[in-house]
């Protein structure tokens, strides 16, 4: 080892001062030569003969010098530097070629790096918690009723927390909005109501102050709150003395005990401005704590070291079974399960992201194929130069290495430009994406992992596109190339075939991308053309929240809302105003079980459920939901009147297939404020899609807001006024009732619907973009190959024309060549495209993966583009002057 190191050090010395070594060596060799000569003379040879024999005996001087030089210096480094110099010289000599190759590669690398930065941030980067891989969401489900994921009741949670051996600890959360007053304008604070141990389960200590203690979670403890760093800065001006002071939430004083660092967010997708309070201090959810029924607490648990996921799942199943046995009326039919926290938030986007990553990889592949083709062309036109080098003593591998180095320089240049493009692309992606579309969008950036990825990719790419030309160069026939001479020195049939195979491959890959993009575009079109069942144009919704501590009784909510609604309706331009909560699609759905009076009560294991809305009488008119039978609500359907309800067509058809539902009675479980009271069905209205545009209409039940008010009053108005004017008007009316009421959650329904398809739009747009890129690259590839083929065949074409072939014949001949390429490309591409399309599966909507129309359109477009790309060279072939072509020889 030591001897090796010494040798290396000596080589470096030799490399630094090569002259000394070589002069010494020369004089040493001449001494040797003299000695050999005198030996030969002593044997009786003539002077001349003795010198000649001595030189033969010693070996060629120049060769010995070369060996000596290689041994003493750093030949690898030297040839490398030489190659790099050659490479730059070569690239400069052919600026057009270099620019095209570098740009093509930069596009490919840039797109890959940008998409990879999204994939990395979303799928690979660990969540910002201590040992995040130990964290799992624990949920209840009722698979037989199609409820895959649901929360826990507080009592069931306590039971789980105390009686399990697999989790270090388990915490629960729920989201809520409280009104923050006393600091300027009243605002709505995004609030997470949590069990006090949440921060310790996540393993993140507060930035300042303390986390909650078990005592904070006990009934009767003084209310406490922890602020996020973001809220502390934005709302409290980063007041250093905030700890220990009180803030008002829903008009109740809370003591600030801690501030959490900005990188901490829980729930994972929550806002950066938020606050946390113990469940027991929340005006709404604290009321649910004493009950074993209900599924409102979302759990996160930290798995004990050494416990396997399978073990934990078994234990959860056992706990559920025990709970079902002990409290069958609420727990029967429910089981528990868990999944990694990260997975919960990436599940929806994972397949889309992987599809995009695959697509962008294919784009890079096409780019590489294109560059390989360019390089092949160049290597062929350089074959004379390379042959001269070979004749002058460069080994085959020396030449192959030189070519590979050239492509490495090319690859690196493309990679660096690509990274610049990626920076730009990531910014563009961020604009394209609403924060709701992907988990932690703001974490997406070009960091060192992405940089490493891009560099590695450019290296791999340069090997990929450099290998074919280098191999051809290494196997080239030197003598042949030199003899053939001139610029027309041929390329072998092998290289020409390789070129065609590459072009065919490009068409096949482009077909895969185009078919995928086509399917997604058609899916997206279907999604957009879905009729949600209600009108969204010019419909604005906004919420007026009121402090629950000041308005504790539902009748107060109802009265307030009725008052506000009347005032707003009296404003010019706001006549079409109603109350409705939660609004379809934009607010998320509330699913409740129900019974039909006079039928056997639902079994505990099979629930009939419907989505629920609480609305004022004008609601159906404002949203354009048609009344199909019976009547809509009236202003007489108030708290003191008999309970009534309206159902949707889907509910009527599913549960009253052969009878008239109007006049029958239903009990909606959980409809506040009197969940068990039967309600008379008075009307049937049209279906709406309330979960998402992509999901078929759910059965709906509507209750009059006056009879079942919910938290906050949500004003829905269809008006030609600007949103700002509407909000100002509502704000003013609300302030006249109570000056501390903020207007929040303002949203245009059409914008909301658009946002709800942001994710499909994002992936469709990107895949479309990649497919277009692939098409352009493939067209360039075909153009290159056909152009080259024409230039090689100029001679042949000249002869044909001279022998009487018409221009049309020549044109057809070249176009046939193009068409053959396209045909085989499509032939290979079709099965690949079909296979890939089936992988898209869940991303498709309302369309089959082998949609014949999409396949047909793509095939026609590709064939047309191929022929178009071949047209220019074909026309050039057509104009070949036989005299010029033959003289060319």
């Amino acid at each position: 080892m030591f001897a090796g190191f010494k040798a290396f050090a000596s080589r470096i010395r030799g490399w630094i001062s090569p002259r000394r070594g070589s002069e010494e060596f020369d004089s040493e060799l001449s001494t040797h030569l003299e000695m050999l000569t005198s030996e030969n003379l002593a044997r009786g040879m003539s002077q001349e003969e003795a010198g000649r024999a001595a030189r033969i005996r010693l070996g060629a001087f120049s060769q010995l010098r070369e060996i000596n030089h290689d041994l003493r210096g750093l030949p690898m480094l030297e040839t490398f530097l030489q190659d790099i110099r050659f490479a730059f010289r070569g690239l400069r000599r052919n600026p057009g070629f270099s620019a095209i190759a570098i740009l093509t590669l930069a596009l490919g690398i840039g797109a890959n790096a940008a998409i990879f930065s999204v994939v990395y941030a979303v799928l690979l980067k660990p969540l910002p918690y201590a040992n995040a891989s130990e964290l799992f969401t624990i949920f209840q489900s009722r698979p037989q009723d199609g409820i895959p994921v649901n929360g826990w009741s507080y009592l069931n949670y306590e039971d789980l927390r105390e009686h399990n051996d697999v989790f270090v600890d388990v915490a629960g959360t729920q989201q809520h909005q409280l009104t923050l007053t006393g600091h300027g304008e009243p605002t709505v604070a995004k609030t997470s109501i949590i069990t006090p141990n949440l921060f310790s389960v996540c393993g993140i200590p507060p930035l300042a102050g303390r986390a909650f203690t078990e005592d904070d979670g006990k009934k009767g403890a003084p209310p406490v709150v922890i602020l996020s760093e973001g809220l502390w800065r934005s709302q409290f001006g980063a007041d250093p003395n905030i700890l220990g002071t009180q803030i008002d939430l829903d008009k109740k004083p809370f003591t600030v005990v801690g501030i959490m660092p900005g990188y901490f967010r829980y729930p994972v997708l929550s806002e950066t401005d938020q606050l946390w309070i113990p469940v027991v201090d929340d005006p709404l959810f604290s009321a649910f704590m004493p009950f074993r029924s209900g599924h409102w607490l979302t759990l996160v648990g930290r798995l004990k070291a050494g416990v396997s996921i399978a073990q934990a799942k078994t234990e959860l199943a056992a706990i559920s079974a025990r709970q079902a046995q002990q409290f069958p009326d609420v727990n029967a039919g429910w089981t528990s399960n868990m999944s990694p926290l990260q997975q919960m938030f990436t599940r929806n986007v994972k397949s889309a992201l992987l599809v995009l990553l695959g697509a962008v990889g294919l784009v890079l592949l096409i780019a590489c194929v294109n560059i390989a083709n360019l390089l092949l062309t160049r290597a062929t036109s350089r074959s004379r130069e390379l042959a001269v080098r070979a004749a002058l003593g460069a080994g085959k591998w020396r030449i192959a290495r030189q070519l590979l180095n050239e492509t490495a320089v090319l690859g690196l240049a493309g990679g660096i430009l690509g990274i610049v493009l990626a920076y730009w692309g990531v910014h563009a992606l961020a604009v394209l994406l609403p924060p709701s579309a992907l988990p932690h969008v703001n974490a997406i950036r070009v960091d060192k992992v992405v940089l490493g990825f891009a560099l590695l990719l450019s290296l791999l790419a340069s090997i990929a596109f450099g290998i074919a030309p280098a191999l051809f160069a290494a196997s080239a026939n030197v003598a042949g190339s030199l003899r053939e001479g001139g610029a027309r020195s041929g390329e072998g049939a092998g290289s020409r075939r390789a070129r065609k195979v590459l072009a065919t491959l490009e068409i096949a890959i482009a077909m895969v991308l185009l078919v995928s993009a086509g399917l997604l575009i058609r899916s997206f079109g279907r999604l957009l053309s879905v009729d949600p069942g209600f009108t969204s144009e010019h419909v604005l919704k906004m919420q007026v929240s009121f402090p629950r501590f000041e308005y504790p009784k539902p009748i107060q909510w109802a009265n307030f809302s009725a008052d506000l609604l009347r005032r707003v309706q009296a404003q010019p331009g706001l006549e079409n105003t109603a109350i409705g909560l939660p609004m379809p699609i934009v607010d998320g759905n509330v699913n409740l079980g129900f019974d039909i009076v006079g039928r056997p009560s639902l079994s505990k294991a099979a629930t009939q459920t419907a989505d629920y809305m609480s609305v004022s009488p004008e609601f159906f008119h404002v949203l354009g939901i048609p009344l199909l039978a019976g009547r809509v609500f009236t202003n007489d359907d108030v708290m003191s009147a008999p309970r009534v309800m309206i159902i949707s067509k889907a509910l009527a058809q599913t549960y009253f297939p052969n009878e008239n539902p109007i006049g029958q009675q239903m009990t909606g479980f959980g409809i506040p404020p009197d969940p068990g009271t039967p309600r008379v069905i008075v009307g049937i209205v049209g279906d709406i899609r309330d979960i998402s545009l992509g999901q078929p209409p759910t059965p709906m039940m509507y209750a009059p807001y006056a009879q079942s008010p919910l938290w906050g009053a949500q004003i829905v108005t269809k008006s030609a006024l600007t949103p700002a004017a509407i909000v100002a008007a509502v704000q003013q009316q609300a302030a006249e009732i109570d000056k501390d009421l903020p207007v929040s959650n303002v949203g245009a329904m059409d914008v909301g619907l658009e946002d709800s398809v942001a994710q499909p739009r994002f992936r469709t747009f990107l895949l479309g973009l990649f497919a277009a890129l692939a098409l352009v690259l493939a067209a360039t590839g075909i153009f290159g190959v056909i152009s080259y083929s024409v230039s090689c065949r100029t001679n042949e074409i000249g002869i044909r024309v001279a022998l009487g072939a018409s221009r049309g014949t020549i044109l057809r001949m070249i176009l046939r060549e193009t068409f053959t390429l396209a045909f085989f490309g499509l032939l290979i591409g079709l099965p690949c495209a079909l296979a890939i399309a089936h992988l898209l599966g869940s991303l498709l909507f309302g369309i089959s993966a082998n949609d014949p129309l999409t396949l047909l359109i793509v095939a026609v477009v590709l064939a047309a583009v191929a022929v178009f790309a071949g047209l220019t060279p074909a026309r050039r072939a057509m104009r070949v002057d036989p005299l010029v072509a033959l003289r060319h020889e």
């Binding site: 001897a3 040798a7 080589r11 060799l29 001494t31 040797h32 000695m35 005996r57 060996i67």
Partner: protein
């Protein structure tokens, strides 16, 4: 497998150079080449120049050193001599060689000793 010219492996030549320097003391390149030819009873007619590649390698590893001096007939020549670590290396290589020769001998059915 017989070939006209004995193909000597690089390492073997290095080993022979070391052995020659150990046995003969300081020598110049010509002397080393002659000595190896004589010892091998002219069986090894090497391109004498290749000796120099061997010498460079050995110097780089620190197993021999070179110094300019004057030869018998008053020529300026570079004399090489074996170093301490060179001797150690030679011992190790020689033992290794014997071991391999023994193994090969046994494999080929030739008695290595006697």
């Amino acid at each position: 497998m017989t070939q006209d010219r004995s193909e000597i492996l690089q390492g073997t030549l290095d080993l022979m150079v070391l052995k020659t320097l150990q046995a003969m003391g300081p020598l110049h390149g010509y002397g080393i080449a002659r000595r190896i030819e004589q010892i091998s009873e002219e069986a090894l007619r090497i391109n004498q120049g290749t000796i120099y590649a061997s010498l460079v390698r050995l110097i780089q590893r620190g197993w021999i050193t070179g110094a300019w001096g004057t030869s018998d007939n008053n020529r300026r020549a570079k004399f090489y001599s074996i170093t301490k670590s060179g001797r150690k290396q030679l011992d190790a290589e020689a033992r290794n060689w014997e071991r391999i020769a023994g193994v090969i001998g046994r494999v080929l059915g030739i008695a290595a000793h006697g």
